[in-house]
């Protein structure tokens, strides 16, 4: 049994333009000790999927319309606020893109780090402080013993993100949800933070859901990847398989937009247009208007393409237009 089994999750938001289906039938499994990536553009539903697990969707306007999220056998979506609180920060932790919005600027780091231990584990303040210092040392904060009594603003961006990670992992959660944890950071700091997450993940065996828009980061971090577009998973596979053999036109487009894959002086591949308006989704394949790598004339127009197993553990939306490869854009060596 997987640690987390999201089944047919549907989340919608009520907006002025009508009902917006932000997540539309998502299935994602996370095994124990696995790092699962969710990739997509802004508005693809990747964060909403994760937020709904912890009851972080504002309701209203949000509404979970259906599906299950079985965590160690318990459906998180059916839990009340109190029951959910015993999971939040204890068995499931979360880190966000901007650490300054999730750390309380008025409280010392020590106060904020001790709190979850006192609540969830009934530790005495002294022992909790000891654990907090230990966990700051784990994420590589120098002079943790002294620094723990600082306020959040006294740390740099990268250090603050480490404090967040230390806080998230202090209760030794079974699942860590990381929502774009390095997007706001410089590359060198990003590397350090990614290394910290990966090392801790290996040491503690925590499962991780890693949300990002950067395929390269996914490639470095994740065991398996789910690519989301317009609220649905369009492709899902082990990370190395997805990178070496992207099937869906959208995944290929994301891959080719990366400047490190394009020779200097050549035009970068772009996915034309914008992600679709979720309030006015066409009935068929929602990627059709932006599909330039496949054959949009073959895209489904009457129904949503289903996710099917294309090859072993490589799932892709079965849309003939998005899977088509009309002509190889580069000459292949073997004809």
């Amino acid at each position: 049994m997987p640690l987390l089994d999201i089944q047919d999750l549907k989340v919608s938001f009520h907006s002025r333009n009508g009902e917006v289906r932000a997540v539309d039938g998502v299935n994602i499994q996370v095994e124990k000790g696995e790092v699962v990536g969710i990739v997509g553009e802004s508005g693809s539903g990747k964060s909403v999927t994760a937020y709904s697990l912890l009851g972080l969707i504002p309701m209203p306007p949000g509404k979970i319309e259906g599906g299950k999220a079985l965590f160690q056998g318990t459906d998180l979506l059916s839990l009340g606020k109190k029951e959910l609180n015993s999971y939040r920060g204890a068995k499931i932790s979360m880190i966000f893109q901007d650490p300054m919005t999730s750390l309380n600027p008025y409280l010392k780091v020590s106060t904020q780090m001790i709190e979850p231990l006192e609540i969830h584990e009934n530790l005495s303040t002294k022992r909790a402080l000891h654990r907090a210092i230990e966990s700051l040392e784990q994420v590589g904060i120098p002079e943790a013993q002294k620094r723990i009594h600082s306020y959040p603003h006294e740390f740099s961006g990268g250090m603050r993100q480490r404090v967040m990670i230390a806080m998230a992992l202090i209760t030794k959660p079974d699942l860590l949800i990381a929502d774009e944890p390095t997007t706001a950071l410089d590359v060198t700091i990003q590397k350090q933070v990614l290394d910290v997450i990966r090392d801790l993940q290996k040491d503690t065996g925590t499962s991780v859901i890693f949300i990002t828009h950067d395929l390269a980061v996914v490639h470095e971090m994740c065991d398996s990847v789910n690519v989301m577009y317009a609220g649905r998973v369009v492709e899902s596979a082990p990370a190395s398989e997805l990178i070496s053999n992207p099937l869906h036109a959208y995944t290929q487009g994301l891959y080719r937009s990366n400047p490190s894959n394009t020779a200097k002086g050549q035009d970068l591949h772009t996915i034309p247009g914008l992600p679709p308006d979720l309030a006015k989704l066409p009935p068929g394949c929602s990627f059709r208007p932006r599909n330039t790598l496949g054959d949009p004339s073959l895209c489904l127009t009457d129904r949503k393409p289903e996710l099917v197993e294309y090859s072993e553990s490589h799932f892709v939306q079965n849309c003939p237009g998005c899977l088509a490869r009309p002509e190889p854009s580069e000459p292949t060596t073997h004809a």
């Binding site: 590397k191 828009h213 395929l215 490639h219």
Partner: protein, 257 residues
Amino acid sequence: MLELQNIKKTFHKGRESVVAVDDVSFEIKSGEILGLVGESGCGKSTISRIIMQLLIPDSGSVTLGDVNLTALPRKEIRRHRLDFQMVFQDPYASLNPRQTIFSTIGEALQQRNPGLKGEVLRKRVGELLETVGLPANQMQRYPHEFSGGQRQRIAIARALAPEPRIIIADEPVSALDVSIQSQILNLLRKLQQELGLTMLFISHDLSVVHYLADRIAVMYGGKIIEHGKASQIFHEPKEDYTRKLLSSVPVLAKLAR
């Protein structure tokens, strides 16, 4: 075209002082894109503010064409500021939410040509929008009606409006999704080719800078530690720090076919 010579700037805070820029010299030729790379706090943004004449350096000079800007009286500087335009990281913060696109870009056009009015102004705004790949008929809209990538296009159009001699782009694609980022990078490259745009492109992402810039200057601790052709810096870095920057960039394996 633009030359910085031995720029030095120290900030003081109480008794402490921080040397933000330490003896920096470089030049940008006409029609060239110079990439300035480094981490937060290395002095990149201080450099851009010194070029904009928003900060006065302790010593050294900034020369644009044959005018030494650092020697000019304050009044004169104002006039020259039009020659520099900036594009910022966050297109949500850098456009006035209460002004229509027409009024934002129109105002920028009038800075250079105060006489522009009515139909001529409208036509110029439309042309600029089309240059950056936006339909001209959307000029009466407000910034919130556009997506992040479109807003960055508007910010670029506004920067182009006063016909600057150089554009300083400070992390212009860092806040954008990869698919949108590539659209903006293509646009900047097109503008360089078609308008002969001269640009200082500031970023922490070496793969983006390598793709776009003709030459790269790597900055660390207020100094330029390495400087050369983009491909040379990217493929044969000499300094350890540059190598570290390069190895930090997450890479995608080449697409297997």
